[in-house]
């Protein structure tokens, strides 16, 4: 199946969930988050820096993720984002509502949930 650009509104609604999911297991920097979304969606989803960073900052301002500058030997410092306790609760709630939403769509349309 070839990747098709996804509807803008649909993408916008899911972005927060995607980002929160990606920083759940470990802290990641912005470029890595963007790249992971692109590769794991096999090109279906992609974000420009101009839209992704404001979103990261917004999530941070809400206290769902925390950004921290990290220095590693021989490298420039980078800002890594990790999930906060509050973010974890939000992520759980969002996962639940998305699951319910997809199941509802599935029941109505009879489409397979891949």
């Amino acid at each position: 199946m070839s990747a098709q650009p996804i509807d803008h509104e649909l993408k916008k609604g899911s972005t927060e969930l995607l980002i929160l999911s990606l920083v759940e297991s470990r802290a990641r920097h912005g470029y890595e988050i963007g790249k992971l979304i692109e590769t794991r969606s096999q090109g279906t989803l992609s974000f420009q820096a101009a839209s992704m960073y404001p979103l990261l900052y917004r999530l941070e301002a809400r206290g769902w993720i925390r950004g921290r500058w990290v220095e590693k030997a021989g490298q420039r410092r980078r800002r890594y984002y990790s999930l906060t306790a509050e973010g974890r609760k939000v992520l759980a709630a969002q996962r639940q509502s998305w699951r319910q939403f997809i199941e509802a769509v599935h029941r109505i349309t009879g489409m397979d949930y891949a």
């Binding site: 920097h29 912005g30 470029y31 963007g34 420009q48 820096a49 101009a50 839209s51 960073y53 404001p54 979103l55 900052y57 917004r58 941070e60 301002a61 500058w69 420039r76 980078r78 800002r79």
Partner: protein, 901 residues
Amino acid sequence: MPDWKEAIRTRLAPAKLDPASEAEVVEELAQHLDNCYEELQASGIPDEECHRRALAELEDRDLLATGVRLAQRPPSPTPAIGIAAFKGGYLNGVIHDLKFSFRNIRAKPSFSLTVIGMLALGIACNAAIFSIFNSLFLHPLPFAEPDQLVDLDETAPKWNLRYVGVSCPDSYEWRKDNSTFHSMAFFRGVGYNLSDRGRAQRADGAQVSHDMLDVLRLKPLIGRNFAPEEDKPGGAKVMLLNYDLWRTMFRSDPKVLGRILKLDDEAYTVIGVLPHEAVFPDRAALWVPLQADPNNISSYYLSGVGRLRPGASLEHARADLLRIHKAMISDGHRLNEFTFPVLTPLRDRYLGDLKTVSRVLLGAVGILLLITSVNIAALVTMRGSSRLREIAIRTAMGASRGRIVAQLLTENIVLAAAGGAFGVLLGAACLRAMVSRIPVVMPQWITFSLDWRFAVFCVVMTGAAALLFGLAPALQASAVDIRGSLQGTAACTTPPSSRRTTFGVLVVCEIALALMVSISASLLVQAFRKVLHTDPGFRSDNISTFRINLPDAAYDKPALKIAYFDKLLTRLLALPGIRAAGATSAPPLGGDHWGGQFEAEGGRDAGPQGENPEVLRVAATPGYADAIGMTLLQGRTFEERDDRPDSPLVVLVNETLAKHFWGNESPIGKRIRQPGAKDWYQVIGLLRDEKHDGLDEEVKPSVFQPYSTTISTVDHNDARALSAMTIILRSSMDPEMAAGAVREIVRGMDPEVSMYRVETMAEQMDRSLWTRRAYSWLFGVFAMIAILLAAAGVYGTVSYTVSQRTQEIGIRMALGAQPAQVLGQVLLDGMALVSIGVATGLAGGLWAMGLLRTLLFGVSSHDPLIYVAVALGMLCVGLLANFVPACRAASVDPMRALHFE
């Protein structure tokens, strides 16, 4: 890699972020674009296209600016400082600063270890030496109101005696007529053979007047004090035990009261036990009443201690006693024309000789601490300067000046605390090592312990220096051009002239101070060498000595004493390996003194007002001069025929006495006598001067008299003193090997007589030189440390300056300067500072070395050879410390240096 920052800033401008937030966003986005660019490049796309596509990430300008503004991302949390700190976050801030400090300290291990090591060294030396000084001179004596306690003695300049002792009549009159003392007591130290139901042991005791406990403000632990009537001549034979003796010999048994003990075979009743605090007179295990005879006018054998009335000064008391003393002259006490009361604070009398040494040592370690502080200040300043770029970055990212100052403060505090902790531990170890080597000549009431308050003071002082200099770069940073620093130019340009001047002054100070310590050390070591090479007038090798004290009760007649020593010496001489044996009342370095005045027949008459030095009188058996190894210059030594009670009175004299009475004439056949006495002593031999009181002490005029005739002709008191004799054995093998056999002989002759103070002459010689050896050695060590620290300081400073001038040097070399010229220039700059330091140090040395004069034993405090040698040495050290960085400067590659741009 393209610079995206300007493009990002333009796109962010509408968001109107505060500079700190903007800097962080710009940095983060620029990294994102870098990654995009690299990835595109890797896939083979031309650079220009890569650049365009990366920038396309920011295509939606409005989205970026609006999104960022709406997000209103807070700047990185800044730990609060000051009042705000109490609103929370303070602890987090401190923990963060501490973590950051530890990381920084670990990141620069050589810098951190150098600072911690120098601090530890400086603090350890200071803490140890100050603790000794404190214990000796500042720690209060263990008595109530110790400042009121005064040592009482008499001085006789015309007899060439600093302390002559108090005479019995004087002690009575002083006590009766004074108006400035609350109480006054007199005493003398005496050794006894103490026996209890057959068990005999040697015990140091004191004969004390009944008011001693009053003066010390102490009460007996059990039992009672001496009654005044027991303290009169012929009074009851009673005794007080000191706490330790009561505990060890009688297992703290309270029933000891009323028990009869024997002192030198005479029965004494125990009437009390002294409290633990009764440590004065020093090392007296028991007290018996002094029972001084007020009519005994000739003997000056008492020591005194008085307690001043509240409000009475030492000056008043001195005038008071002088008044009484002079009034006695008209009552027939003619000797009071020659003697004067001398009053000294109690501590100074016993430790006064150590005062100069301790102060000078304290000065030396103080200088060491100063050098340490200067060095650390220089190091921290350099490190701070090299961190300007880091500080600038953090300022650019919104860190406030307070925030940066707090961070630098934490870092320096961590370093100072680590150095301080190590220093205190090291100081305690040094003190323990030094105290364990102090011989037993120190009064018992001195206890040495580390002065923690002073250790803390040292840590604070040195830490303060580090903080002060560490903060300077933080404060400078606010004035630094942030952009310039970030671009790396600040790190490569020549340091500002103000900083160079600061470093220059620090180097000059270090060199000058180190030079002063080195000059002192060289002078003292030179003096010590001179003392060591002094001819003592006797040979200390293979000599062992011990003391015998014959109890008066069993040996009440001179003939018995003469017979005992005769027999003992004969038996000792029969031992294998013993080459010579003799007995003396006052061996060299033994601290014994029996003195008197003499006049020479036909010699120059000193007259009553003239100078008539005190002459050391030594009673000796015929074998003594041979055993101790004294050199006979003229005439002969004693023979058997001189050592009989009825022999003609003959003496041996030393060079100093012969010179005093007869100048360069031969003394053999000349006669001397005690002033006004009828018996003349004929001089039969001239002995080379011996250093009786110590290798660095003056030689006293001395007279050696045969033991038998002496003890038969002196008064009762002197005869009693002559019951105690020191036996000198010269053996052809290790002196300690004969000790067992000697002990057997002594025990076999009389079990009631014990031998004590068994030691070799070499040990006594060592002990007599202990103080001088200790401080000369300590000074040498301090000088080495000072030189090392100064050299490290010079090396560090010049290295830093060179590293800061790399670019300037590169430009010079690019313009044609030769490496040799650069080398010369750097060396010249460095050596100019070293030379100024050396000149300053020499001037300081010339001024300060006067303080050492009393310790120098014939070495001039301005000995030019030492000054020149030390200055040259310091110049060499300075040259070496300059040479390495200068070579580094000369090997700068102009291309690389300029590449910094």
